[in-house]
């Protein structure tokens, strides 16, 4: 471990992909399961089932993964140096939260070549909330010389359920950190690999999805897809209530969650398209949240039946 650090600190300007490798490697050494990004459109790493479901219930768990996150309203056709339709999050969940979690986190910065003695690192209050997931937590944004690089959250609720034990969620904004370490102002100038830039790899994707979200997405059709996905999620959730015993363990609540995620992304698309009024906004968010909360409580029922929980084990 010591050796790896020395090597890294010599390379003070890691490539984008090196940064990802270094961080994942660090969390691998901390005992995390390394997971893959979720294969649906999500707005944040929190929506990955490896966070949404794992923070529920009593089982300890540690996981880290990269999650490309789509925010249709944030797209800028690759013309703004800091804003992206799709940015890269590195998400870590530690359950239960370790007592020395802040040191563990700071050590991860050292692992990517940040000299803690020479940089201004600060934890400023920032309480995170995801209204569509019925999830919120208390914590900070971590600033590195004034730049927000991580959201650090003690999860208090997910899917409307009070969490016990509490998980810590760390969400690193990878493009920002890479730009900081490479000393550049424009995300598209980032060196991704030895011979490719971020811009070369991602510009057309940013342009096309910005164009889709702001101009081409068909509002009526998107709404219809939202309704369909919601209906499918609801149908599955209704079915859970009546599902007969032998089939309950393999009842597809995870599929219900997928449809809930699709609703969330479709909602974001409608929002970017500018066709949602403020009231309708609140009501659509409420509909997605209702699905998320039902999925969470059904999932806990399913888990409780599968794994007997030993009371007083903590």
């Amino acid at each position: 471990m010591r050796k790896g650090q020395n090597k890294r600190s010599r390379n003070a300007r890691p490539l984008f992909q090196e940064l990802i490798l270094d961080l994942l490697n660090y969390w691998h050494r901390c005992g995390c399961v390394l997971q893959q990004p979720y294969d649906l459109e999500v707005g944040a790493g929190t929506m990955h089932p490896e966070t949404f479901f794992r923070v529920l219930g009593p089982q300890p768990y540690r996981v880290a993964y990269i999650q490309p996150s789509r925010r249709p309203a944030d797209g800028r056709y690759a013309e703004n140096p800091n804003r992206l339709y799709k940015h890269t999050q590195l998400q870590v969940i530690l359950k239960p939260s370790p007592d020395n979690i802040q040191s563990i986190y700071l050590e991860s910065l050292r692992a990517i070549g940040v000299n803690l003695r020479r940089h201004d690192i600060r934890f400023e209050e920032d309480n995170w909330e995801s209204p569509t997931l019925g999830a919120w937590g208390v914590g900070w944004q971590v600033l590195l010389d004034g730049l927000e690089i991580t959201q650090f959250t003690y999860f208090q609720q997910c899917g409307g359920i009070d969490l016990d034990p509490v998980s810590v969620e760390l969400t690193y904004g990878m493009e920002r950190i890479a730009a900081f370490l490479q000393g550049i102002d424009n995300v598209f100038d980032l060196k991704w690999s030895t011979d490719q830039t971020y811009g070369a790899i991602r510009t057309s994707e940013e342009q096309q999805f910005s164009a889709y979200s702001f101009e081409h997405a068909d509002p009526a059709l998107t709404r219809q897809m939202f309704e369909l996905c919601e209906a499918e999620a609801r149908r599955l959730l209704d079915g859970w209530v009546a599902a007969p015993e032998p089939a309950r363990q393999r009842y597809p609540l995870l599929a219900a969650y997928d449809f809930c995620l699709k609703c969330s992304h479709l909602f974001n698309t409608l929002d970017a398209r500018g066709v949602i009024s403020v009231t309708e906004r609140a009501s659509l968010i409420g509909r997605v949240r209702t699905l998320a909360c039902r999925v969470a409580s059904s999932y806990l029922e399913q888990q409780a039946a599968a794994v007997p929980i030993t009371l007083g084990s903590r």
Partner: protein, 708 residues
């Protein structure tokens, strides 16, 4: 054993939200002093508390090492039972003495209403402070009122942020207790990056000096002084001055355990953006201080407060500069995009922005604001206010909410109004209108200023009245601490604008106008008389508050004046000033006391249709004292009324106060409730008339008796 010893407590946490620390620190002082007093271990030394981002600290230089012994007198059996007839103690006395733990010889006799009893003085030895603290401290810490708490281990263990260590020393050794899952010990932690992780501490002096060596300045005053000193040094080195910002200063005092100021630069090309936007970006988003030239213009520099001892090689500075560059480039982008659309063209978009579901969109609100602003401007013009312009008020109201859909306000919501004003000015609206839009969210509190021009005041009133009446109409009335639409602040703003701009607009007419706008424009709501009355009372409550807190009038003078009429606030203020100025003259308070007596008599006499005569009948004034009062009252009433109508309230009040000797004499010599019915009714009629005629400026019966 020492009489007193030093107490030191430090709760080490993960970073506490900066804006919560100062308040919690002063609460902790109060809480500990209360607990210590209750346990009788607080001596003459007070508790001092300090706070920094990772610690809450309390120290008491001299806390008693034990509670004083408590002595209480316990009454035993009657003396006759306790001693036999030769005066020897009986079994009863002996067993009583034994129970109280005193020798029989120490018993003594007390006399009670029931006869003589024996008694003993029982001494309970005080507990040691060392034994008290382990239960006292967790309870005290648990009762710190934080705006929001969290849990990180067990749901029952809540605090503002996770507790990671506790230092608790009394007389140099550890106080054994546990709080939020952490055992108290004898060590603290230094600065996260610069200090040692574990520092064993022996005393407060040792604590302070070791922490200083480990880059933690525990005392916020010391941090504040360091920041201020360095801000000034950097500014003067660059021949600039700091844009003063006391709120920001307080934030950075609590964001850093070892604050150091560094200076950074940004490209002068960003100075094309308005200073309001530049300062907001620097202040609200990056917590930087802006620098100005002596002319007041912004300079392309900023000062950042960092949590380090120095910035070797300018690494930190380069980082902060890069972040600010990105923020400014966003802001320029928003500015340029917004300039492509004239502000007025955003009106159509406001139909899609909901103000409140039952009160419609911002387009609906704009329609109401226009109607209301026009009505007010017409009113003012009719009342002779020269600058009142209906056209300006209408145009300002039309554009007021258009900035809500700009990119700039979406990014920086705290700039609503200001951005609209800046865009309006840039797009050629007259200054009167641009400033009106710029200022219309003001005043935002008791100390805030009101809009700088009349159109701004009209717009500010219209906006707040519509909010207030609209919310009351749909049942969103503030209760207790819950006031989600900030209606108290809206009402306060209305009162302040009317008073400080001295506007001849009555509260009643304003509430009526706002109700009409809600009815004539969408959502076409009927606002009932009852609701309008509720709004008026709500406004009056705020007016009382403003008169007391802002102008410093005693509550009874405020009540007295408002009881005589509250619709016209500037007039009420003039009456208050007059009343206050004569309050201490010799006749006034005795006269006020007599008025209170008069009111009691009249109220006790029951409904006035049973006794009131059409007027005082001189033929029934039997006694000289009542004739004199009647004559004087008639004369004074006439003169006082002409003073009152001319607005000479002080003169009127002084005249009225001259009635005092006659009122006194009347009460000395005249029995109001005379046996003879016609005399009695005539006297009551006289008193009722006094009350009516002399309560037009202030209702004297509301004046509290002098405190002597």
């Amino acid at each position: 054993m020492k009489q007193t010893a030093e107490f030191l407590l430090e709760v080490g946490c993960e970073e506490i939200p900066a804006q919560m620390i100062a308040r919690a620190s002063s609460e902790l002082k109060v809480i500990l002093e209360k607990h210590f007093s209750a346990e009788r271990i607080l001596d003459s030394a007070e508790v001092h508390t300090y706070g920094a981002s990772r610690r809450m600290v309390a120290v008491c230089r001299a806390l008693r090492t034990r509670q004083p012994d408590s002595v209480e007198e316990v009454t035993g059996p009657p003396r006759s039972v306790a001693y036999d007839n030769v005066g020897r103690p009986t079994k009863a006395a002996e067993s009583f003495a034994a129970r109280q733990g005193v020798p029989v010889a120490k018993l003594y006799t007390v006399t009670t209403p029931r006869g003589e009893y024996v008694a003993a003085r029982r001494t309970t030895p005080g507990k040691l402070t060392r034994e008290i603290l382990p239960t006292l401290l967790p309870a005290a810490l648990f009762s710190i009122p934080w705006p929001r708490t969290m849990y990180w281990r067990r749901p029952a263990e809540r605090f503002v942020r996770p507790v990671r260590w506790i230092l608790a020393l009394f007389d140099g050794s550890v106080v054994p207790f546990e709080f939020a899952g952490v055992r108290a010990a004898n060590w603290t932690a230094g600065h996260r990056a610069l200090g040692r992780e574990r520092i064993v501490v022996r005393s407060f002096a040792d604590y302070i000096s070791q922490l200083r060596r480990n880059y933690v300045l525990v005392d916020p005053d010391e941090r504040r002084k360091k920041i201020l000193r360095e801000l000034r040094q950097h500014a003067s080195r660059a021949h600039l001055r700091v844009h003063e910002d006391p709120e920001l200063l307080e934030q950075v005092v609590y964001l850093n355990e070892f604050p150091t100021v560094i200076r950074g630069e940004f490209s002068p090309e960003y100075l094309r953006l308005p200073r309001e936007i530049l300062i907001t970006v620097m202040r609200d988003h990056q917590k930087y201080f802006a620098l100005e030239r002596s002319s007041g213009e912004l300079a392309p520099h900023f000062l950042a407060v960092i949590n380090l001892d120095r910035d070797a090689g300018g690494i930190v500075r380069a980082g902060h500069e890069r972040v600010l560059r990105a923020r400014f480039s966003d802001a320029s982008f928003f500015w340029d995009v917004d300039q492509k659309t004239p502000l007025g063209n955003n009106l159509a978009k406001l139909t899609a922005v909901t103000y409140e579901s039952r009160l419609g969109s911002y387009a609906d609100k704009t329609a109401r604001l226009r109607a209301l602003a026009r009505t007010m401007a017409e009113h003012l013009a009719a009342a002779g206010v020269q600058e009142a312009s209906v056209a300006s008020a209408d145009r300002a109201a039309e554009l007021a909410k258009c900035d809500l859909v700009t990119e700039m306000v979406r990014e920086f919501p705290e700039l609503q109004g200001i951005v609209g004003g800046l865009y309006a000015a840039r797009q050629g609206e007259p200054a009167e209108i641009a400033w009106a839009i710029y200022d219309h969210y003001r005043p935002s509190g008791l100390e805030d200023w009101i809009p700088r021009n009349l159109t701004g005041c009209i717009l500010s009133l219209a906006d707040k009245l519509d909010t207030l009446v609209g919310c009351f109409a749909i049942g969103l009335v503030p209760t207790g601490s819950s006031d989600p639409f900030a209606l108290r602040r809206a009402a306060l703003g209305i009162v302040k604008v009317i008073l400080e701009k001295n506007l001849p607009l009555t509260l009643g007419s304003l509430v009526t106008a706002a109700s009409c706008a809600l009815q004539s424009q969408p959502p076409n709501l009927m606002v009932s008389e009852t609701i309008q009355q509720q709004v008026l009372e709500f406004l009056l409550e705020r007016a009382r508050f403003v008169f007391r807190e802002r102008y410093g009038f005693p509550y009874d003078e405020v009540n007295s004046v408002l009881a005589a009429g509250a619709d016209d606030l500037p007039d009420a203020l003039r009456r208050l000033e007059a009343l206050h100025s004569i309050r201490r003259t010799k006749n006034f308070e005795p006269l006020a006391a007599s008025f209170k007596r008069i009111r009691n008599i009249v109220e006790k006499a029951g409904p006035d249709e049973h006794w009131r005569l059409p007027d005082v009948r001189t033929d029934l004034l039997a006694l000289e004292a009542e004739q004199a009062l009647h004559r004087a009252a008639q004369r004074v009433a006439q003169q006082a009324e002409s003073h009152r109508l001319a607005g000479r309230y002080r003169e009127a009040l002084l005249l009225i106060a001259e009635l005092r000797p006659l009122v006194d004499r009347f009460f000395d010599e005249v029995l109001v409730m005379a046996e003879q019915e016609d005399l009695r009714r005539n006297r009551l009629t006289l008193l009722a008339k006094l009350l009516r005629e002399f309560s037009r400026i202030a209702d004297f019966s509301e004046i509290a008796a002098a405190q002597k």
